[in-house]
Every structure is written in structure tokens, then in C-alpha cells.
């Protein structure tokens, strides 16, 4: 319990270093409430997250990316969270899975507390053992950024400009 609380606080600190935000949401209903409070339109939801939420707009399978380009708020689910770096691991084999995390302005990522691990090494060990997951796996750490113009850090250049992470309590799943 203490070890897990320690992981959570290290995760939150590392995420903040990367300009990401930790949220209070600790269940799927919380996540939905948070997402809807951020936008006047309906949040878009990745197929994974939709399994849990059963609401929100989904990318159109016929043209997933174009169908949701530049929607305000998206919700997706991460397989792991890494305390060392504040990263979340997204497993997105197809472009339908990827659409939400690629193209929304504000991405809300939910991850089960049980899947919070200490460091990147654990993340890589997990991936090495999951051939399907490695089809398209991304450690996402904070919002998209660039420092290409005079080294001035600018957030949100191509991917989401805000990234919020919700750690779901074990009972939620």
C-alpha cells in the first residue's frame, strides 16, 4: 500500500515535469465527468475506453483519422503507467485505436492503478513478452512539444496540447 502510494506520487511528479497533469478521477464515471466538463461537444473515445465507458463518439472505422481530426477532448486507456518517467503506455495496433490519441487537443488517459510500474525497464520487459502489443506501442510522456524555434519550448505542436492522466482504483475494473 505504501509502496503503491509512493509509486503514484513519483508518477505524478514525473508527469508534472513533462507538463502533463494528474487528475483526481479514479473511476470510469469520474473520467467521463471530467472529459465532459472540458468540452461542450461530446468527447471522442478510443475503442478500448469505449468498452469500459459505453458512451461518447467513436472514430468512424471507415476513415478513423479524418473522422475525428481536431476534436477537443478524447479519452483513451493505457496499458501501463511508468513511475520513473511519468509515461503511459498506449497499445494501438490499428489506426482506429490511434485516432483519439493522435488527433484530439486534450487527451485524457485512464490507467488501472494495478498497472502502475516502477520504471521503464519493467515496461520494456512487459512489451518483450507481448508480441501483439508491440505491433504499435507508444510510451507517451506529457503533451506534444517542440523546441525547434530558438529552443523555445512550445507545447502542442502536432499531437495533443494537453495530457491528463487518471489513475483508476483497483475496484474500477
Amino acid at each position: 500500500m505504501t509502496a503503491s502510494a509512493d509509486l503514484a506520487s513519483r508518477f505524478a511528479a514525473a508527469l508534472a515535469d513533462a507538463q502533463g497533469e494528474i487528475t483526481d478521477a479514479s473511476s470510469w464515471p469520474d473520467v467521463w465527468e471530467l472529459a465532459t466538463s472540458l468540452t461542450s461537444t461530446t468527447p471522442v473515445v478510443s475503442p478500448d475506453a469505449f468498452e469500459q465507458l459505453r458512451r461518447g463518439d467513436r472514430p468512424d472505422p471507415a476513415d478513423p483519422l479524418r473522422s475525428i481530426a481536431d476534436r477537443e477532448v478524447g479519452i483513451t486507456q493505457a496499458r501501463l503507467a511508468i513511475a520513473e518517467t511519468g509515461s503511459v503506455l498506449l497499445i494501438e495496433p490499428s489506426d482506429i485505436d490511434r485516432a483519439v490519441s493522435l488527433l484530439t487537443r486534450h487527451l485524457v488517459v485512464a490507467v488501472d492503478r494495478a498497472n502502475l510500474v516502477a520504471d521503464l525497464a519493467e515496461g520494456f520487459t512487459w512489451l518483450a513478452a507481448q508480441p501483439q502489443a508491440a505491433a504499435y506501442a507508444t510510451f507517451v510522456t506529457g503533451p506534444s512539444r517542440t523546441a525547434d524555434i530558438e529552443r523555445s519550448l512550445t507545447i502542442g505542436v502536432q499531437g495533443p496540447s494537453r495530457l491528463s492522466v487518471a489513475i483508476l482504483q483497483d475496484s474500477a475494473s
Binding site: 493522435l102 520494456f124 518483450a128 525547434d148
Partner: protein, 724 residues
């Protein structure tokens, strides 16, 4: 190779004419250094391993792969193919370009969106595709800005670091037909996002590089901050990967080890925003992985160079490189920039392309201290420089100067004449603080011309009473040979005399073996190994007359004897062993005074003058005891040095660099002297004669208040019985 890479001399001139480049890169290097050091320290604490252990481990992994290279390539290929990718191994840039072109043409693709790929720069892909009517759009913001300006990256990870925001506003404004406020960078970035978005939506293929190719599953790992790579691999139906065959690592665990070192060394981040691993295409799409040789197997075949294939393209070697700070990556490099560019250009492009910037490297070794895969860059650069010299790339004046320098009689006569002229100038009132007051051309005005004293160091020693012993060191009663060094002998005779007195103060006797001149360092530095070898042989002959310890005030020559001589005589066992019997006995004065000729703590007079020390960069960058003159002086004189910022950064002497590229010598010197001035010291001490002369001449030209001295002279002036 490409129309957009201009000749070196033109690139160099442009760089030194840009007034903003130097201060901007200085600012960058300093802030990178702070954040990178903090990151590495945290990594060391977390892993409980030293940076050196971590990098040696990963370097060993990379070396292991090359030892069974074909097996790992086969493993990667079969696993990637099993996952549905097409894998091709291609030999040359032309082959790679042709492959990508034909795949596009067969599918009617006329627009490719590109994520950052140095290999695609290496093969000059964009221009080549353009000629076949295929448009390639860079989507990394920095790369896109370069493309719009028809420029090349000037840094491996911050490709547009040379561009000013005013310039960015102009080129971006032109492309997007918008008026930008140069100070509103977020607005420019937001518009760029929208400007790039339409290209993704229209493109038929995306192209990325790969930071690692993971053999055990045939996966690629790509690290980015913007997220453009994820877009470029998701919107189009075809994904090209261009990667050098050296990018292979055996396992996921190895990829992790690389990731531990890469972002920390590159952008001083714990991790980049996106680390994406892809295994095969998604069903219904295509993935083509191009494994490129283009000189890599030739690099591997060369024992002196193969380690360069460990490179993970982090750019750290440029971030600490003093000449890079002065001229940037367009001059300091070719397509690949920084230290690694001075090496691999000879293989991926040509020795002609690699030759230009060779003379800009001052051999300070700073790059090696931060390279996360421990590549012996300094030595490799000298190796490539030798090839360039042999291919006829040294300027005629340089060849002539080396020839003259190699001849002791010519040098003695020339120096004698110079000394007479100096003395005449003194008579005419043209000398001030030991430098000539002469109008110099503006390119050279940053340093004054030192006068040559009439009496050389050897003459001084021969014509004086020995120093009475001050303490009984372990070497008391022994006789010690002095290697005076060519420069010190004529330009710093007092330091030579001081060296003798400090050795005598420990109770030893000093002899100066006849026939000594130059260890061969300047010629070695210039890539002229034949001349260097001849000079080394002459020095060896002079110094092998006895088998006594040899002490020298010239720190650089210690490196020449210990490092260069074994390379010069690698194929000549007889001379190799003669060289070694000399280099085994050589002591830098500092290690002598701490070792066999040890003088006790506080055995010299104290001083009220505030001093600071510039430690010879080559020694301090390898953390050698020879570098620790600050500790030595503090110990002997019971005083504390003023703390010098960037103490280990080169002073800009760099042997021939300050002659061949005076702007570089001047720029580095300015950085150094600014740090010295900030200490408010009375005296700047240093250990290498060339650096002492350079620092003194520069400070004189600037009118800096402090005095510059070889530390031997400073110490000898504080010997208790000094009555002179």
C-alpha cells in the same frame, strides 16, 4: 553531393559572418550542459551505476552486434518479415533512393510525409525524389523549416538551431501566406501545425528513421517529441523506414538501455514525449524497411573507426564542442555534424567532404567525455585527418610550415632572427608587456604577437647556478633529464628555467640532453604522420641517451609521447619499443612534483595574488593527474584558487587551428577569457606552453588586466631561497 551543401570555405565564411550564431550557441551549450549533467547524475543515483559503466555496457552491446552483424541482420529481417514488413538491404545512397522511388511510382504515390531521418539526409532523398516528380514534405518542425529555407540540419537533434526567430517568421510567413510576429513563437508553431496537417491527409506514404532495430522481434523504435512520427505512420497506407545497419540491437532490454542514454544525452530529457515501437504494418497497409550500408561495412573493416558505428545520433558531441559553438554545424560537419560528422562523413560521403572541417577540431577531447557510447572521437578524427592530408587536402602554407618546423637548424636560425628583430623592436619602443605593438589585419587582431626573448630556455639553464634543495624528495640525489619543448624553449624560457629549479628544489640534478627539438605533435595534429614520425624519431634519439626520468613543462608533449607515438610506430616494432622506453620515463612537471620529485605541502612561500588555473583541456578531459595543476599550486603555496567557470573547456590554441581558422581560435579564446575575467584574478596559470602563449597574447590584445603565466614560473618565483 547535394546542391544544397555548399563548399566548406563558403560555409565557414557564412558562419563566421553571422553575428548571432556564436552567442546563441554559447547559450545553448551552457544550458544543455547544466540540464544534461543533472539528468545524468539522477540516472547514476537511480541505477547506482556510473555514467561510464552504463555507457561502456551499452557500447559493448553495440560492439557485440557488429561481431555477428550478418546474423543479427538476418534475425531482424526474418522477424520483421514474419510480422508482415518488407525488408531490403541496400548498399548505396543511390540504391536506396531508387528503391523508394520505384515503390512510390508503382503505387502512384506522389507525396511522402517524412518524420526526422538522418539517413534520408545522408542519401539526399528529398532532392532525388523531387527529380522523379515525388514531393517529400518534412513534418518535424525543425526539418520543415530547413526544407522551406533550402538548408541542411546544423545539429543532429536540433536541426534548425542556427535559425533566428525573425528568419523563421519570414520563411514560415512566406509558406503560409501569413504575417508573423517573430516574438510570438507559439503562434508560429500553431500555424505550422495546421500547415502540416493537410500534407498528412493527402500523402500516400510516410517515411521515418529508426533509433533502434530490435532483432528479436523485428521491431523498430523511434523517439520523437512532436508526435509527427505517429501521424506519418498512421495516416498514409505505406510506411518506409530508412535505417543504417548499425542501428540493430539484439533485444528489447538492449533497446531500453539505449533509451536510458539517448534522450538524456540528446535533449537532456528523462524521456522524449513519444517513444514508439512498431512491429510490422497493420493489416491492409505496407511497411518497407530499408537497411542501408552506404559505407558502414567499410567503417567496420577499419579498426580505428569501427567504434563510430556505436553512435546513437544524440548530438551530445556537438553540445560540448568549443569550435562548434563558434561556427555551428554547417561549418563543423557536412551532413552529419559535430565530432561524429568529422568521422563518418569520410565513409557516408567522401574524404573530400570530410576534409574541410578537419582543421576546426582543436583535439580537446570534450566530445568523448559526454558521448553516451564512449566513441574515441578525438583519435578517430585525427585518423580521418591523416587520410585527408594524404589525399592532398592540407593547404600549401601548412605543409611548408611543417617542413620548416621539422628541421631543427632552420628553426634555430629562424627563431634567432626573430629574437634579434624582437630586440630591435624593443629598442624602437614597439614592445609592450612582452608583445609587439604592431597594426595587424583585422582577422588577426584578437591576439598580439609575442616577442621572442634573446635567450632561450636551454641557454638560461646552462648559464645559472642550480637551485638549492628545499626538501628531500624520493628522487633526491638522482639526475633527471629535461625535455624543454620547442615552443617553451624559445617563447617561454622562464618556464623552462623554472621547471629545472622546481626539480632541483626536490634535491634532484637536472640535465638537458642535447639534440632535442620537437616531439612531432604539430605534424601529427595536421595529419602529416610521415613528418611527425621523423620528428618523433629525432626526439627519441635525443632522449634515449640515458635511462633517467624525463621531466617536461609541456603537457601536450606528454600526450604526444604516450598516445601518438604508439600509433606512429604501430607497424615498426623496433621503433615502437624505443619510443616506449622514452615515453615510459616521461613525467609532466605536475605529476613529478606530486610523485618522485614531490615537494611538501606549503613548502613554497604564500602569495597575496589571486590566481586561477586553466587546465590543459586534453588532460583534464581525460581526468588525468597531469591536469591537476590547481590542486598542486594550492597545495604548495597554501592558497586557494579563484574558481574558474568552464575550467576544462579549451582555450582555443588547438595547435594549427588558431592559425588555419583564426576566427575559431579567437572565438574560443573569447569564451575562455570572459570566464577568466569574471574571476577578477591577478594571475592566470596554465600548464601547456602553447596555451600559455595563446592566452597571454589574447589577453594582451584585449587589454585584460591579469597576467598569464606557466604555473612553473609562478611556483619557482615562490621558492623560499629566491633572491633574484
Amino acid at each position: 553531393m547535394s546542391a544544397s551543401v555548399r563548399p566548406f570555405t563558403e560555409r565557414y565564411k557564412r558562419a563566421v559572418r553571422d553575428p548571432d550564431l556564436k552567442p546563441r550557441l554559447l547559450d545553448f551549450q551552457r544550458s544543455w550542459r547544466l540540464s544534461r549533467d543533472a539528468q545524468i547524475k539522477r540516472l547514476e543515483q537511480r541505477t547506482e551505476r556510473s555514467f561510464d559503466d552504463l555507457r561502456q555496457d551499452f557500447a559493448a552491446t553495440k560492439d557485440h552486434v557488429r561481431a555477428s552483424w550478418n546474423d543479427y541482420i538476418t534475425e531482424f529481417r526474418s522477424n520483421a518479415e514474419a510480422a508482415g514488413a518488407t525488408v531490403v538491404e541496400l548498399n548505396s545512397a543511390a540504391d536506396a533512393v531508387e528503391y523508394i522511388t520505384s515503390v512510390c511510382q508503382a503505387r502512384g504515390i506522389d507525396l511522402i510525409v517524412k518524420s526526422k531521418s538522418m539517413v534520408s539526409e545522408e542519401i539526399d532523398l528529398n532532392d532525388a525524389l523531387q527529380r522523379s516528380g515525388i514531393n517529400a514534405v518534412e513534418t518535424d518542425l525543425g526539418e520543415w523549416l530547413l526544407q522551406l529555407a533550402d538548408e541542411r540540419p546544423s545539429h543532429l537533434v536540433m536541426p534548425a538551431i542556427h535559425q533566428k526567430r525573425q528568419y523563421v517568421a519570414q520563411i514560415l510567413g512566406g509558406e503560409l501566406d501569413t504575417q508573423f510576429d517573430p516574438d510570438d513563437i507559439p503562434a508560429m508553431v500553431a500555424s505550422a501545425r495546421d500547415g502540416l496537417r493537410k500534407h498528412y491527409l493527402q500523402s500516400g506514404a510516410g517515411l521515418t528513421g529508426a533509433n533502434a532495430l530490435i532483432a528479436e522481434t523485428g521491431s523498430i523504435m523511434v523517439v520523437t517529441n512532436e508526435g509527427n512520427m505517429r501521424l506519418a505512420t498512421s495516416l498514409p497506407d505505406l510506411h518506409f523506414v530508412t535505417a543504417g545497419i548499425e542501428k540493430i540491437v539484439p533485444t528489447w532490454s538492449d533497446a531500453h538501455d539505449q533509451l536510458q542514454l539517448l534522450p538524456r544525452s540528446a535533449t537532456a530529457q528523462t524521456i522524449s514525449t513519444y517513444t514508439t515501437c512498431i512491429t510490422g504494418p497493420q493489416p491492409g497497409k505496407e511497411m518497407h524497411i530499408i537497411l542501408l550500408d552506404n559505407g558502414r561495412r567499410d567503417m567496420h573493416a577499419d579498426d580505428a573507426i569501427t567504434d563510430a558505428l556505436r553512435c546513437i545520433r544524440c548530438g551530445a558531441c556537438a553540445n560540448v564542442c568549443p569550435p562548434y559553438q563558434v561556427v555551428g554545424g554547417h561549418a563543423f560537419g557536412h551532413i552529419y555534424t559535430g565530432a561524429i560528422g568529422l568521422v563518418n562523413t569520410a565513409f557516408h560521403h567522401s574524404i573530400d567532404d570530410a576534409a574541410g572541417p578537419q582543421g576546426l577540431c582543436v583535439s580537446c577531447g570534450a566530445c568523448e567525455t559526454v558521448c553516451p557510447v564512449a566513441i574515441p572521437l578525438q583519435r578517430q578524427i585525427l585518423h580521418v585527418r591523416r587520410r585527408a592530408f594524404n589525399a592532398g587536402h592540407a593547404p600549401r602554407w601548412e605543409r611548408l610550415a611543417l617542413k620548416l618546423w621539422a628541421n631543427p637548424t632552420v628553426m634555430r636560425t629562424a627563431m634567432g632572427i626573430a629574437a634579434l628583430l624582437s630586440s630591435a623592436a624593443r629598442g624602437l619602443g614597439l614592445v609592450q608587456r612582452a608583445h609587439l605593438r604592431l597594426p595587424l589585419p583585422s582577422r588577426l587582431r584578437w591576439r598580439s604577437i609575442p616577442v621572442i626573448p634573446l635567450r632561450s630556455g636551454q641557454t638560461l639553464i646552462a648559464s645559472r647556478q642550480p637551485q638549492p634543495p628545499l626538501a628531500s624528495s624520493p628522487a633526491a640525489g638522482q639526475t633527471v633529464d629535461l625535455f624543454v619543448q620547442c615552443l617553451a624553449d624559445r617563447l617561454l624560457p622562464q618556464a623552462v628555467d623554472a621547471t629545472a629549479r622546481l626539480v632541483e628544489a626536490g634535491g634532484a640534478n637536472v640535465q638537458v640532453p642535447a639534440g632535442q627539438h620537437c616531439c612531432g605533435l604539430p605534424a601529427f595534429d595536421a595529419g602529416d604522420w610521415d613528418t611527425s614520425r621523423a620528428m618523433a624519431q629525432q626526439t627519441i634519439e635525443a632522449l634515449e641517451q640515458h635511462t633517467r626520468p624525463i621531466v617536461t613543462p609541456a603537457t601536450s608533449c606528454v600526450i604526444a609521447m604516450q598516445d601518438h607515438w604508439p600509433q606512429l610506430f604501430a607497424d615498426d616494432p623496433a621503433w615502437l619499443s624505443r619510443a616506449q622506453s622514452v615515453s615510459d620515463r616521461i613525467y609532466d612537471l605536475a605529476t613529478w612534483l606530486d610523485g618522485p620529485g614531490r615537494l611538501p605541502n606549503h613548502s613554497l612561500q604564500s602569495t597575496s595574488q589571486l590566481w586561477t588555473a586553466h587546465r590543459f583541456c586534453q588532460m583534464s578531459n581525460r581526468d588525468a593527474p597531469e591536469a591537476r595543476i590547481d590542486q598542486l599550486v594550492a597545495r604548495l603555496t597554501d592558497s586557494v584558487p579563484a574558481e574558474l567557470a568552464e575550467a576544462d573547456v579549451c582555450c582555443g590554441f588547438g595547435g594549427l587551428t588558431s592559425l588555419a581558422a583564426p576566427e575559431v581560435g579567437a572565438g574560443i579564446l573569447e569564451r575562455k577569457l570572459d570566464c577568466v575575467n569574471a574571476t577578477d584574478c591577478d594571475i592566470l596559470l596554465t600548464n601547456n606552453p602553447g596555451c600559455a602563449i595563446h592566452l597571454n597574447a589574447g589577453a594582451h590584445a584585449r587589454g585584460d588586466a591579469h597576467e598569464t603565466m606557466h604555473y612553473a614560473e609562478f611556483l619557482a618565483n615562490l621558492l623560499p631561497s629566491d633572491g633574484a
